[in-house]
Symmetry: C2
Subunit: 82 residues, 2 copies
């Protein structure tokens, strides 16, 4: 069956978010009153799996082996469909 995994990868608290800071600086230059900007990367993945649990296990494996850097990033997975 085909499942849709939405994988959300964000920097751990305390890790410098260079992209977020750059965006925040640009907002200030444009006159926006902004307290903070955090950048998050999301991958929407259609994958084959036998069950929702199987799809989740595969998505976790994808994060560990390719998508996320466990030293500086956290990942969150949402599974849909089946």
């Amino acid at each position: 069956m085909i499942y849709k995994a939405e994988v959300r990868i964000q920097l751990k608290p305390g890790v410098m978010d260079a992209e977020g800071e750059t965006v925040q600086r640009s907002f200030r230059l444009l006159g926006f009153s902004v307290r903070s900007v955090n950048s998050v990367r999301v991958y929407v993945i259609e994958l084959d799996a036998n069950s929702e649990d199987d799809a989740r296990a595969k998505a976790v494996d994808m994060c560990k082996r390719l998508l996320a850097n466990p030293v500086i990033q956290d990942y969150f997975i949402k599974i849909e469909g089946g």
Copy 2:
């Protein structure tokens, strides 16, 4: 008041997603059975606004002026807090 805007920026349907395709190719090399991968960029922005509508209007303005390229990207905004 401080509102949290979650701005989701993704490529319009039909626009080539180079990052998604690269990730998909890497998954195949690792042995994952994957139908498609779409990359999405999310910015979580804490901003000052007078109301939820005001926060939304500001986030739309931020997308138009800085975050999104309207030719190839769609944006979706979710407002929280206040």
